[in-house]
């Protein structure tokens, strides 16, 4: 991601009060490897390192509107923050009941998956070592695997990316299950629970050109079921515009 890169930097500066907290020692936090302060940094995919970094958009009264696990590109971050702004309008709408707000929250989170451009989906593939961990240890009890039949051998290490949901999809699915939850009640541990807890890209061993990561099939990732609408269509259109 890029908090200091545009469009993220200006968007944050103009629209948000920003804060940061060190989560070292939290039960859900990961462990980073040792890195020289003057060492290289490797650019990675959306959602990499969910135990090490979490990015929240909160209402002014501390309700979670969205949470992005791990690292996110600047354009994708802003796209998600704009959704958070729309969710904030729903949260502040005094004409809606709590139930209506929660229903809108779920629908808007799931509908946003289908709004992600193919390039964003391609930037959101699960890291290979995280996918390997999920296949080996959680094959039958994880929500990260889209098609278990594609995993021939859970212990083989490298797994086909098409077997897994991309993180941009997984994130919205998990957010839809925690509608308008106060920050201190938000289940961060379950939200960031994918892949192995240790995250270390061994940056200093990379060549200046980096290396090419495997990409998921964007056409397959794009085949997602439509979102059922159980709320007044006019209200939905008012907040979501479709």
């Amino acid at each position: 991601m890029s908090l200091s890169s545009e469009p993220a930097f200006s968007f944050l500066k103009s629209n948000f009060i920003c804060g940061v907290r060190d989560i070292t020692g939290e039960t859900y936090s990961g462990v980073s490897g040792f890195h020289d302060p003057n060492g290289n940094a490797v650019v990675t995919s959306n959602g990499a390192g969910p135990h090490n970094v979490q990015l929240f958009a909160l209402s002014a009264d501390g309700v979670v509107l969205t949470c992005l696990p791990g690292y996110w590109g600047p354009d994708d971050l802003v796209r998600e923050l704009k959704l958070a702004q729309r969710l904030n309008r729903v949260w502040l709408d005094g004409s809606l009941s709590r139930g209506q707000k929660e229903e809108l929250f779920r629908q808007m989170q799931l509908a946003h998956i289908r709004q992600h451009p193919p390039a964003m989906v391609a930037r959101s593939h699960m890291q290979g070592f995280d996918a390997a961990y999920e296949a080996k240890y959680r094959l039958n009890d994880t929500d990260t695997i889209r098609d278990p039949s594609l995993i021939a051998d859970p212990n083989s290490g490298m797994q086909p990316p098409a077997a897994f949901k991309t993180i941009d999809e997984l994130m919205h699915e998990r957010m839809s299950r925690q509608p308008f939850v106060p920050f201190y009640s938000f289940n961060i541990a379950s939200f960031v629970d994918y892949g192995r807890p240790r995250y270390d890209k061994e940056e200093d061993s990379h060549l200046p050109t980096g290396h090419l990561a495997r990409m998921p099939d964007p056409h397959k990732a794009g085949r997602r079921p439509p979102v059922a609408r159980h709320i007044d269509p006019a209200t939905y259109v008012h907040y979501y515009g479709q």
């Binding site: 940094a41 501390g62 391609a122 090419l212």
Partner: protein, 76 residues
């Protein structure tokens, strides 16, 4: 202490850089540190959510809350 500091710097370096669709890219430590300076100098970062909420209410804004191993400027 040193490990925590460097882990924080690394995490921030990740936060500062955009992933490309083709896979990994490598940025120098100097560039990452420059971006940290821009980030911490250009935006005020609260360390208390309570204070951030108060500022958000006063300014009628939302809150962007980062949780990370280490700190933004690596001085933990």
């Amino acid at each position: 202490m040193q490990q925590k500091l460097t882990a924080g710097l690394l995490a921030v370096a990740f936060l500062l850089l955009a992933p490309g669709p083709g896979g990994s890219q490598v940025f120098s430590g100097d560039e990452a540190k420059d971006r940290v300076r821009e980030l911490t100098g250009g935006i005020h970062w609260y360390h208390s959510l309570t204070q951030a909420q108060q500022a958000a209410r006063n300014g009628e804004k939302m809150i962007f809350w980062v949780q990370m191993l280490g700190s933004l400027d690596g001085t933990t």
